[in-house]
C-alpha cells in the first residue's frame, strides 16, 4: 500500500515536471501560432529588433527610429529588444542567449556575421534590391562564402589617435606622426614637456589597441593573413608585422608613455579623462568623435592614424561582412525586417542621425550628410585611406572565433608589464596556440 501510494506520488511528480518542461518549451510555438492568427486577422506585421545600446546610441534614439519607421510603414509594428554594451562587449552574446531561449529577434544590430552565417541563422538579403545600388563600391565586397547577409552602409574608423592640439603645440610637435619612430619622438617630447603622452584603459580597450596596432601594417602587407593562417602557410610567430607591432607597444610601455594605472581605468572614465586634459593622445575608434562634439573643454582635438612602419597611410576600419543590421533566417517577416534595416542605415534623416551619433561616415552614394564637428571633418579627410580589414574581423577569411579574447589578454599583459611580459615571439605564440586550440 505504502509503495503504491509512493509510486503514484512519484508518478504525479514526474508527470508534473514533464508538463512543466513541455509547457515552457511549447509556449513559444503556441504564442507564435496565436500571433500569426492575430496578425492575419488584423493584417498587422510585428517584428522585433535587437538594438545595441551604448553611451552614444541610446534607447531613446532607437525609439525615435522605430516611431518614424512605423509612421512610414503602416501595418508594421516594431518591438525593441535591448543588447546593452555595458553588459557584454558583443551583441552576438545576446543573440546566442536568445537562440538558446527560443526568443530570437527578427533583426539584429552589430553582430559578427561569420559564426551566425555558418550556423544557418542569417537570411540572405536580395542582391538585386534597388536600394542597394546606393552602396558605394562593389556590393559583393561584403559577401561571406558567396552570400550577402548585410552591406557596407558606413565606414567606422577604429585605428584613430586623437590628440590634444594644445599639448602638442606646447611640446613643440608641429606635424602629426606617420611612422612608429615619429610617434616615439612625439611621445618623448610630450613626456619631457610634463604631459602623459598616451592614455588608455582596461576592460576591452587593450584588445582594441592590440587589434589596431597589429593590423595597421598587416592589412597593407598581407590582406589575406587569416586565409594564410587557416591554410597553415604562416603563423603569428613567423609574421614580422605581428612581432614588430608587439615590440613597438612594449617599448612604449617601457618608456613610460602610457598613463599609470591604465588597466584599472574603465572605458567611460577613460573618455572623460582625455576630455579633461589628462593626456595628449587617446587611441580610440571614431565613435569618440560623437562624445567629443558634445563635450565642453578648453582645447581642440585633432586626429591621425595609428602609424605604420614606413609611414604609408593605413586607417584601420571595421566593416567586415557589412554593418547594416542582419535578418534572422527563421524570421516570419524577413522582408519587413530588411526594410527596417535599410531604413535604419539609409534614411536621409535617421540614417544620417545614426552616423552622427556614433561618429560614422556614410558609404552610400550620394552620402548621407550630417553637420560634422571640426574633429569629424579632420577624420573624414583620413577616411579615403581606410582599410576594410583587421585582425579581429577579416583579413581574407574571418578572424578566429573569439579572437578578441587573446588580443585583450595580450594587450593587458603588455600594458601591465611591457617587455617583462615576454618576448614578442612568446606573446605571438599565445595567438598561435589559441588558433590551434579551436581546431
Amino acid at each position: 500500500m505504502k509503495s503504491s501510494r509512493f509510486r503514484i506520488a512519484l508518478g504525479i511528480l514526474l508527470v508534473f515536471c514533464a508538463a512543466f518542461v513541455w509547457a515552457s518549451g511549447g509556449a513559444d510555438a503556441s504564442k507564435s501560432d496565436s500571433a500569426a492568427a492575430s496578425a492575419a486577422e488584423t493584417a498587422e506585421i510585428e517584428i522585433s529588433w535587437q538594438v545595441w545600446i551604448t553611451p552614444n546610441l541610446t534607447r531613446t534614439y532607437y525609439d525615435e527610429v522605430v516611431a518614424a519607421f512605423e509612421a512610414e510603414n503602416p501595418g508594421i509594428t516594431v518591438n525593441i529588444m535591448e543588447a546593452d554594451a555595458s553588459a557584454s562587449s558583443s551583441a552576438g552574446d545576446f543573440i546566442k542567449m536568445r537562440l538558446a531561449a527560443g526568443d530570437v529577434p527578427d533583426l539584429w544590430t552589430n553582430v559578427d556575421i561569420p559564426p551566425f552565417a555558418d550556423g544557418g541563422q542569417l537570411w540572405e538579403i536580395p542582391v538585386d534590391d534597388p536600394d542597394l545600388k546606393l552602396v558605394n563600391g562593389d556590393l559583393m565586397d561584403a559577401e561571406y562564402k558567396g552570400k550577402l547577409y548585410s552591406f557596407i552602409s558606413s565606414v567606422q574608423p577604429q585605428g584613430c589617435m586623437f590628440y590634444n592640439k594644445t599639448m602638442f603645440e606646447a611640446a613643440g610637435i608641429t606635424t602629426t606622426p606617420k611612422t612608429w619612430a615619429e610617434l616615439d619622438d612625439a611621445c618623448a617630447k610630450l613626456k619631457a614637456a610634463g604631459f602623459t603622452p598616451i592614455i588608455t584603459g582596461g576592460e576591452w580597450v587593450p584588445g582594441l589597441i592590440i587589434n589596431n596596432v597589429l593590423s595597421t601594417d598587416l592589412v597593407i602587407n598581407n590582406p589575406t593573413f587569416w586565409t594564410d593562417i587557416n591554410a597553415g602557410k604562416t603563423t603569428f610567430v613567423d609574421t614580422p608585422e605581428i612581432l614588430e607591432g608587439i615590440a613597438n607597444l612594449q617599448s612604449f610601455v617601457d618608456n613610460g608613455y602610457f598613463n599609470k594605472g591604465a588597466l584599472s581605468v574603465g572605458y567611460a572614465d577613460l573618455e572623460q579623462q582625455f576630455l579633461s586634459g589628462k593626456a595628449a593622445i587617446y587611441p580610440m575608434g571614431s565613435w569618440f568623435t560623437a562624445a567629443e562634439a558634445a563635450a565642453s573643454k578648453d582645447f581642440e582635438v585633432g586626429v591621425f592614424s595609428i602609424p605604420t612602419k614606413d609611414g604609408r597611410p593605413s586607417l584601420v576600419a571595421s566593416a567586415g561582412y557589412g554593418n547594416a543590421p542582419v535578418v534572422y533566417a527563421k524570421s516570419e517577416n524577413p522582408e519587413a525586417a530588411f526594410e527596417l534595416s535599410k531604413f535604419y542605415v539609409m534614411d536621409p534623416v535617421y540614417g544620417a542621425k545614426s552616423l552622427q551619433m556614433d561618429g560614422l561616415f556614410s558609404n552610400l552614394n550620394p552620402p548621407l550628410e550630417y553637420s560634422m564637428s571640426p574633429l569629424q571633418l579632420d577624420l573624414a579627410a583620413l577616411v579615403p585611406t581606410a582599410q576594410f580589414g583587421n585582425l579581429q574581423h577579416r583579413l581574407g577569411e574571418p578572424g578566429a572565433d573569439g579572437f578578441f579574447d587573446p588580443m585583450t589578454k595580450i594587450g593587458q599583459l603588455i600594458l601591465a608589464e611591457g617587455s617583462k611580459a615576454g618576448s614578442p615571439a612568446s606573446l605571438a605564440k599565445v595567438f598561435d596556440d589559441y588558433v590551434a586550440s579551436l581546431k
Binding site: F6, A9, G119, S264, D401, E417, S437
Partner: protein
C-alpha cells in the same frame, strides 16, 4: 500517529513538493544534465545541429593550459579565502559574543554586505580601488604613491580576495555567533571554577562546540569561492592578462565569446565535479571531526 496516517502524510508531502520540485528540476537539475549532454558534442551554440564527438571535449580540457591555469587561480581564491574568512569569522564571533546592547548592532553590521548583490559590490569596490579611486585619493593626500590594486598582475588577485573576504566574513560571523549562543553557559562556569584560562576555554569548549557551524561555514565559503564570478567579472573581467580568470569566467568566455558552447559545457561539468568531490571530502572529514570532538 498511526501507520495509515503516516502513509497519507507521506503522500501529501510528495504532492505538496510538486511545485517547488518542478521549479528546482527545471532550473537546476535539467540544465546540469543538458550541460553534461552538450559536452559530448561539437556545437557552437548557434547551429541547429550538433556533431557527436564522444569524450573529446572532456579529454581536451585535461590538456587545456587556460583551463588548468584558471583552475589554479580558482584554488588561489578558494583555499586562502576559506581559511581567512573562517578564521576571521570565528574570531569576530567570539569577540562580539555576549548579551551587550551592541551585539545586535554588530550582527546587523556584519551581515550587511551579504545583502548587497555581487555586481553592486564589484562596482563599489572598483570605485574604491581603481587607480584614481577613493583609496588612492586618500593615499595621495598623505603623499603616498598610488597603488594599482586592480591593474597590477601581482596585486589584482589579492584585491579580489580582499573584497570577497569582506563580503563573506560577516555572514560567517553570524553563523558562528549562532553556534556560540548554543553553547551551555554552565560549561564555561565549570571551566572557570576549575581555573581554565580563556585560551583553554576556547580550545576545550568553544572550538569543539562550534564544530557543526565550522562544517557549514567551510562548505559555504569553499563552494562560494570555487564558483566566483560576479565580483571578479565586474572588478577585473578576469584580467589583467588573465590573472584573475576563475573557472566560471573561463567557462563563460569559452562558451559565449569563443562560440565553443559544448566545450564550455564540459568545463562547467568539470567545475561541478571538482566542487562536488572536494565538498564531499571536506564534509566527511569535518563530520568525522565533529563526532570526535563532541564525544
Amino acid at each position: 500517529m498511526s501507520g495509515k496516517n503516516r502513509k497519507g502524510t507521506t503522500f501529501w508531502n510528495m504532492v505538496l513538493m510538486l511545485p517547488g520540485f518542478s521549479i528546482y528540476f527545471l532550473i537546476i537539475i535539467l540544465p546540469i544534465f543538458m550541460c553534461f549532454y552538450f559536452g559530448f558534442f561539437d556545437w557552437d551554440g548557434i547551429r541547429d545541429n550538433m556533431t557527436f564527438i564522444g569524450l573529446d571535449n572532456y579529454v581536451r580540457a585535461l590538456h587545456d593550459v587556460n583551463f588548468l591555469t584558471s583552475l589554479k587561480i580558482t584554488f588561489f581564491f578558494a583555499i586562502p579565502g576559506t581559511l581567512i574568512v573562517n578564521t576571521m569569522g570565528m574570531v569576530l564571533a567570539v569577540l562580539v559574543n555576549g548579551h551587550s546592547r551592541m551585539s545586535n548592532f554588530y550582527r546587523s553590521s556584519f551581515f550587511f554586505p551579504m545583502l548587497i548583490s555581487g555586481v553592486a559590490i564589484g562596482f563599489i569596490w572598483k570605485a574604491l580601488l581603481s587607480y584614481s579611486g577613493v583609496v588612492n585619493t586618500l593615499l595621495s593626500n598623505w603623499n603616498v604613491e598610488a597603488i594599482d590594486f586592480l591593474g597590477s598582475i601581482a596585486l589584482a588577485p589579492w584585491s579580489i580576495l580582499l573584497v570577497n573576504t569582506w563580503h563573506d566574513v560577516g555572514f560567517v560571523t553570524v553563523l558562528y555567533l549562532a553556534g556560540l549562543q548554543a553553547i551551555p553557559g554552565d560549561l564555561y562556569d565549570s571551566a572557570f571554577i576549575d581555573g581554565a584560562s580563556k585560551l583553554k576555554q576556547f580550545t576545550a569548549i568553544t572550538f569543539p562546540w562550534l564544530a557543526p557551524s565550522l562544517t557549514s561555514c567551510v562548505i559555504f565559503t569553499f563552494t562560494g569561492y570555487m564558483r566566483l564570478y560576479d565580483i571578479v567579472f565586474v572588478m577585473t573581467s578576469g584580467g589583467p592578462g588573465g590573472a584573475t580568470e576563475t573557472i566560471a569566467i573561463q567557462t563563460i568566455r569559452v562558451g559565449f565569446n569563443q562560440n565553443r558552447f559544448s566545450y564550455g559545457s564540459s568545463l562547467a561539468i568539470y567545475m561541478l565535479v571538482i566542487i562536488g568531490v572536494i565538498t564531499v571530502v571536506i564534509t566527511q572529514f569535518l563530520r568525522k571531526r565533529e563526532a570526535q570532538l563532541i564525544s
